[in-house]
């Protein structure tokens, strides 16, 4: 069985919001930024457990705003430097400031 670690509540809230963006979202750039942020949040060992398939109903702007707020809190509540850097890097992805050398 693959070892997993629990997702911190604030990071889980950010992931839930970003995964709930609807597929017909007209802002493709926002969809791409959200994708990079999700990849950054999930780039951790042990893995986060899989999450249930979300209902994709949110528009990108409100989902990203919700995720940004959650990530601000996640950075403050991070239990170690790795978590804090990862959450901050995901936040930067959402802002459109991509991180070049994050260890995905």
């Amino acid at each position: 069985m693959t070892e997993t670690r629990p997702i911190p509540p604030a990071a889980a809230a950010a992931l839930d919001a970003l995964c709930a963006i609807r597929d017909d979202e007209p802002d493709v750039a926002a969809l791409l930024r959200a994708g990079a942020a999700v990849a950054t949040l999930r780039a951790t060992r042990p893995l986060y457990p899989p999450t249930a398939e979300p209902a994709r109903t949110l528009d990108a702007a409100s989902a990203i705003a919700r995720a940004q707020e959650a990530l601000d809190l996640a950075v403050l509540e991070a239990v170690d430097a790795e978590e804090a850097v990862r959450f901050a890097a995901a936040r930067a992805e959402l802002n459109g400031d991509p991180v070049g050398a994050f260890p995905w």
């Binding site: 693959t2 493709v28 791409l32 899989p50 991509p98 995905w104």
Partner: protein, 439 residues
Amino acid sequence: MVTYEEAMSEVGRALARLLTEPRPVTDAALEPALAARESVLVLLATQASDGALGRRTTTDTISEIVRNPTGAFNLLRSRLPRLPGENANQLLAAEPEDHASSLWLLAHRNAVVANHLWRTAEPSSRPQGAATWPVTADAAALTAALTQLEPAVTDALRRAGRTAAAAVLDQSRWSGLAYVTEVVGVLAAAGDLSDPAPLRRPGTPSPVAVRGMAGLREGNRRLVTHLREQPLSPQALQVVMSRHGSAILTAADLVGPGALASSLTEHARRVALAARRLGAVASVEASDRRAPLQAHQIHAFLVDEARGPRRPEAGQAVARHAPATIAAIAERAFSDVQTGRWYVADGEDPGRPMWVQADHHDHRPEVLDHLKEAAEEASALIELVEPDESVRARVTPPRERLEVGTGLAARMAAAVRPAVPAERLAPPGERIAERSLTM
């Protein structure tokens, strides 16, 4: 990012320009000239030792020169006096003092680069057999140019008070190398001299910094190579796809409104939708970091381009590579699933989902179908993209810049080029007999 072909072309160009100079070796150009002469001779010695310049011989008799000109050429060239000069390594980064120095330094640097690229290329990609004729012709052209420039080097050595070195060089002029070089040049030109296949680099290349159009083309090529050759975690692939999708969107902006921009935007959407499916996949295996770094470089360059020069050709370059990139992304995902590197959620207990190994059956990641569709749709982009003129442009090899043996060619009209440079020439009697048999 210089290729072997480009470096060789630059050596030929520099020597060709020196041949037209009224004073090819000024006092300031003496050390650069000696360094360039040495680095060209080292390059040719490397190629000869790899068997790319025909056979080697140990005798320099007249009959050997007649029957085995490439062997005699290799022998006499290897006996040329070596005058490496001083500070040849420092000259690689030196500022030229005059025009002649700048040309010699150009030849020196490019000969060093060509030698490095030849030696570090995959051995199987180096020309072999009949394909070595163009390499031999290049070697003859460079040697002929050096031979013609040697009197000017000798004069400069004398002016510098290095009379012993000048005397040694003077002596070597009577070795017969000039004649045999012409013979090899004429023989080579008597048959096909099309460019051999480019040399291949061994291993997976490192990411390249993208600072201009040449870097963008190379970066796109390397991204495809990284994706094809190295495994990635789903998260790394998701980041590559996000960067790639953003680059495509920026490319759509750069090319301006039209059918291509619409198709690029639609393709970016497909990439984004496929990428988000990777959130449901995971891996604990090591992931290569080159593809994300390269994709980031390409994306960052395009963002700068959109803010600054806004060259449509940058957008065209991305559009041109988009089908190959998404195909390589799809190949990577299929391969990593095939090799059991990726996990998907086991849907048996929705309350406690677990990661299980992905496969192409019951645990097939949804992303694979999206990638397959995106790769198929992307092929239509090719029809909308303008052809890349820079790819068609061919660098001129030394054999075409530096004519060898033009006077001798008329006298050697009956020369029959052997299949490979290493073969001995048939005596005239045999040659006539062969020809009458084929008539």
